[in-house]
Amino acid sequence: MSLCILDIPVLIVIGFVISYLFAKVWRWDYPDIYATLSTVVITVFWLNAILCAFDVIEPWGVGWVTTEVNGWVALFIVLAYPLWFGWGAERARVLFGRAPDQGGLLWPFSLEEKTKPFRPAWRGGASKE
């Protein structure tokens, strides 16, 4: 079965970017958007993998990084897509924070304060201000 080995790094990068945007921009106003986007992305990649497996389409990157793998191994790799996506997403949260009021592990290493103020716990969560 043909798989594009670049699927995994691309998933990591997409997870990283979506997670960053969610934490910094969308989290308080659109609390469900991360789940929606991640579902869409994983669905697209899974769909692509299934279509490739049934030879409906050719894997992207043919002649460059496409790789032939045993069917069961390919299944294992494809099922692990959400984990790779999540791994990339978590790296963004660790580095840049999980919400607009956080700055991640990089926060102490800069002089300028770019994060928003905390909100009182009784107004916390995902509700709008």
């Binding site: 991640g104 926060w107 290493f109 304060e113 905390f118």
Partner: protein
Amino acid sequence: MVPWRRATRENSIQQDGGGLMGKRALVTGANGFTGTHMVEYLFSQGWEVVATDIRREERGSYYCEEGDLHPSYFEGYSERTASRFVTADLTDKESLLPLFDQHYDVVFHVASLYDYFAQWDELSRVNVTGARNLGEVAAEAGVGRFILWSTEGVYGDQDHHSIDEDAPHNPSNLYCKSKAAQEEVMWELHAEHGLPLTVVRPGPIYGPRHTYGVYHILYALEKMGTGVVISLFPKKYNLTFPSVHVKDLTRAALYVAERDQAEGEAYNVLSDCIPQVELMEFLCGALGMERWGRVPVWWPLYKAGAGIGLKYVRWLDRRARSKGARPKIDVPMIEYMTHHYEFSNQKIKDLGFEFIYQDPRRGLWDYITWCKDRGWL
């Protein structure tokens, strides 16, 4: 005989339900975090309190006060609970004289320039010269007792030993050096002018209204959003973290003030020290952090990493100064978190004092809840 009891008896003071009335105290730094608590506690114990502090506009040049988020000057608290509020500046001896137109059973010298970013000239002027001014006037006025607020920081890093009050002073930063110098000056006044001195050396203080020091550890954790709990091995190198709830500190200050045998003595005032790794795990949980983990690190590797980290933070500090800004976390705060500070509170326990928050986790839980209710964390 406790001095204030002698004084109140001479003044034919009334009795109220078995308690003595008419005990009078002077509290300096009364509009600061600890000062407001000291005034409130004395008031609750039936003391007549004269509160003093400088004006907010004079204080602004010293303190890192960032509006509502990190206030360090609390107008209204002392005015509500003190029987009299007098504006005075420690660095101006003349301005202190009107404070002593009446007898004080106890002077609580809480005021201090507590700012790790401040330069030596300012620190020395407020903490050393200011304390000397107050001590001289108080000794001349014949106060019953003088309680000086020092800090555990005067001991510095003592290489993995629990430190009692007899340990030599080895302060590691300018603020702690100014407090060590302050103590020296006051002990001189005690020896040469008979100032009835007792020194309290609190660990890092926290509690309602606290916004500088322990708060910054919580603030940084919350801002980072991910907790990294470093567990050192071999285990004997695990660091400890001292702290004290302001409620315990004010109680302890009054407790030693009321005891004859405490005159001429110094006391460490802090909850039992707990390992930093346990404290950090507790804080991550109490702050409700979504993700945190324990990372085992070999001690020499940690020392090397901490050394590099400190160098970077010092560089950040210099860069901030050159830009007229200040870093998010002051250098000494990082030093505290990367060195071993373990102090014994046995001496004050032997005096009979009992802490409400012997385990700091209880106090920190209360404080974190207080901060979260206000959007400070």
